[in-house]
């Protein structure tokens, strides 16, 4: 079995939560460098693999920060446009996911600086799956509530939580993507979680 196939198989067995989020992602540096080199040379399969693997995460990070699907798409496209230009000179100093999230976060920050604060837009609908109606409604309400609470967090805490808790990025990669130390990331995460815990507890008391 090739390295790539072995990694793909290993990746499939990594633990996930109910949304399919991976709590840990181990990617061979060699395989990513190889994939990037092939993508830079115009290999469509390698480019597709890179996009399929990283684009949804980049888009979700942008969407959570901007709360606008179209703007999140624009940021994602711009991120990959920069990636295509940069790939021939890729030196593998960081993981592609870390680099892409850094670019996306910076693009989002620029956009947020330019526009005035806006009210949160309608949350995207989520399929309730095969849950009974009452349970589906309860889950939908719970999902909408936690989304609203996350959105209300300070920007940096929201970024940290999105990368670490929601996208399953490792602490070092998340810190690198946010261009902060691991200690700073942990501080942002613990403050975010404390705020959310308190808000959820208050919600239960009401």
């Amino acid at each position: 079995m090739s390295d790539a196939a072995a990694i793909a198989r290993y990746d499939d067995f990594l633990p996930r939560n109910s949304h399919g989020r991976r709590y840990a992602r181990i990617v061979s540096d060699y395989s990513e460098r190889d994939q990037i080199a092939r993508a830079a040379a115009g290999d469509r399969l390698a480019q597709s693999a890179l996009v399929n693997r990283h684009m949804p995460v980049v888009w979700r990070v942008a969407f959570r920060m901007l709360r606008d699907r179209q703007e999140a798409e624009d940021v994602t496209q711009e991120t990959f446009l920069r990636a295509w230009k940069m790939l021939p000179d890729w030196e593998g100093r960081s993981k592609f996911s870390t680099w892409a999230c850094t670019v996306a976060i910076n693009l989002c920050r620029d956009r947020m600086k330019k526009k005035a604060p806006v009210l949160m837009e309608t949350l995207p609908e989520r399929e309730a799956g095969d849950l009974p109606p009452e349970q589906a409604l309860h889950q939908k309400q719970a999902g909408a509530r936690i989304s609203a609470l996350i959105d209300a967090l300070p920007e940096r805490q929201k970024e940290a939580l999105t990368l670490s808790a929601l996208e399953g990025m490792g602490n070092k990669d998340a810190a690198a993507a946010m261009q902060v130390s691991v200690e700073a990331l942990e501080s942002l995460l613990s403050r975010a979680r404390r705020t959310l815990r308190q808000a959820l507890a208050e919600g239960q008391e009401e």
């Binding site: 633990p15 949304h19 040379a41 979700r60 995207p124 989520r126 999902g143 691991v182 959820l200």
Partner: protein
């Protein structure tokens, strides 16, 4: 502190920072923290329950997905391979002229030179003094079965 260097304070910090799911904890501390937690579950029960509650809330958070056409739009901007950039014509010419276009141009130039040289030498040898056959004419008469021009004049059938 255990022999692994893990402390109660750090386990509490991990639970409050990364949640209850060990896979979310830093890889280098995971094993020691799990062992410490398993050795003293009563010390962390409340914090662990709170962390689990928040993790469950995250599970319920709707995970938005990008538009399915976004991947195609991104790939449309991706760099193309050399073959795709050059198109069929260039690839075909490379197949027919593997050494590039200089090769047929050089061959054509050489053919032209050889033609000019052959033409010049042939015309030079066919110039003869008046009354004498040129070598070329002798070849023609011999091919017709005559010894020379005079024999041809004597024996060749006339139209009239």
């Amino acid at each position: 502190m255990t022999k692994t260097g893990m402390t109660d304070a750090r386990v509490l910090q991990l639970l409050e920072t990364y949640g209850a799911w060990p896979m979310a904890w830093p890889e280098e501390e995971r094993e020691a923290a799990e062992a410490h937690l398993a050795a003293h579950p009563e010390r962390f029960a409340d914090v662990l329950a709170e962390a689990r509650l928040l993790d469950a809330a995250f599970e319920a958070e709707p995970m938005a997905e990008p538009d399915p056409s976004l991947a195609a739009r991104i790939l449309a901007d991706a760099p193309q391979s050399r073959a795709a950039r050059e198109g069929l014509g260039v690839r075909l010419s490379r197949l027919l002229m593997p050494n590039g276009r200089r090769w047929p141009a050089g061959a054509a130039l050489a053919s032209l030179g050889m033609g000019l040289f052959a033409g010049y030498t042939a015309s030079a040898s066919s110039v003869a003094a008046p009354g004498f056959e040129t070598e070329a004419e002798a070849v023609v008469y011999a091919a017709l079965g005559y010894d020379q021009y005079e024999t041809y004049l004597e024996e060749a059938p006339l139209d009239e």
